[in-house]
């Protein structure tokens, strides 16, 4: 048991270490976020209402996710055989899920910071917004990690991430956007509790199905 935990920890550490040493993938994504938000700021500046503010943020997050998580298995291609003999697929996918979540949440927060500075901040409870963001990003990162493991076997990896991922991610996205729209428009916990619980259960389904199916997509 403890060796499994050690393996997971080592794999997560390896992913962050790679980000730190290579620098260009992470810098690229951060630049992508900044450029997108700047484009939004220039083209939407006069027409932003709280609802639009919220929708734009989530759309930006969605597109950043497809780009950011596409690398998760592409970068492992040369180590495929090595993993195959050293760790179980479950260890690998759990470490990837945790890594993707932290990575994406970090990028999401970074994006939110720039977004608030450039586009502005409507008056609402930021704590609840972040909690809902956390909840949504669990589903987003899990689904796109699984999709990345599927897309890595195809000829046009980057393209297919979006095509395969968008329909699958819609339940999470719809719930998260609806919740966060309510929060931005001034709702408190009582206003969003039922949808938050549904979102949590959808996340559970996605993570469970990912754990169940990953060994098959990995073996291919």
């Amino acid at each position: 048991m403890s060796s499994t935990v050690t393996q997971i920890r080592t794999l997560i550490r390896k992913d962050f270490l790679m980000d730190w040493r290579q620098k260009h993938p992470l810098t690229g994504i951060l630049l992508y976020v900044t450029a997108t938000i700047y484009t939004v700021y220039l083209s939407f500046s006069a027409v932003i209402t709280p609802a639009v503010w919220n929708a734009l943020y989530w759309i930006i997050l969605l597109f950043v996710t497809t780009t950011a998580l596409a690398k998760s298995f592409i970068q492992e291609e040369r180590r495929h055989l090595y993993y195959y003999f050293t760790v179980s697929p479950h260890v690998l996918i759990i470490s990837k899920l945790i890594y993707s979540f932290v990575y994406l949440f970090g990028i999401g927060l970074f994006g939110l910071g720039i977004y608030i500075v450039l586009v502005g901040l409507p008056a609402f409870s930021l704590g609840l917004f972040l909690l809902n963001l956390l909840n949504g990003i669990i589903g987003l990162s899990a689904a796109f990690t699984m999709i990345a493991s599927i897309a890595v076997h195809t000829h046009q990896k980057g393209n297919l991430m979006a095509v395969l991922g968008f329909p699958v991610i819609l339940p999470v996205l719809l719930l998260a956007i609806t919740n966060s729209k309510k929060i931005v428009e001034g709702a408190n916990w009582e206003g969003v509790d039922s949808f938050s619980l549904i979102l949590i259960s959808v996340n559970v389904i996605i993570v469970a199905v990912t754990l169940l199916l990953f060994p098959y997509s990995w073996k291919a």
Binding site: M146, T154, V163, L164, P167, I206, V209, S217, K219, A220
Partner: protein, 224 residues
Amino acid sequence: MKYLIRTNWWKWLTMGLLVYTIIGALLFDVPRLAILNETIRVLHFHVPMWFGMIFLFTASVWHAVKYLKTGDQQSDIISHKLAEVGMFFGILGLLTGMLWATFTWGEPWSNDPKQNATAISMLIYMAYFVLRGSISDEQVRARISGVYNIFAFAALIPLLFILPRLADSLHPGNGGNPGFNAYDLDSKLRMVFYPAVLGWTLLGFWIATVKIRLTRIINRREDV
């Protein structure tokens, strides 16, 4: 599915049911409801397409699971062809629905939750076909598309429960609109509706068996 490919008796049943459906749907007495009027007859053509689609997609996922468990190439062929026919039924359901909506709701597309759910399931299965097209190795294709089929289906089910909560549907029987349960004349509709669902669904499986056979023949000829 293997049983359906092997046997023939259910094809006669399908033909009988569909002849009955078409005659019954066009000629039998129907309840007079405001706005719906004679368009209520679309119930026997439009709604069974959805039932058929759901059954075909479910069968497709079932065979995808079977493929992942056994690695039998036949299960992959069956799963793929069932998804294709399911998609065809979905398109037919969408077209019949949009035609009907033009006359009752005033526009072919009105952001109805059921329309959105359909559009999304169409997107999922289109992505499934794109995925199949972009993997050249046969074994990898079967395995990966099987995984995606199950994954997408699992994500679709919560959506079917979520969307109706976000907005009221315009469909009869939802959001205060009269459906055929609300009237005591409904038994007349049911007499045609249930056979229609069974008949159209079986027709879908029939088309699938023909496609599966054709694929098998093509594969065999390629091997030779």
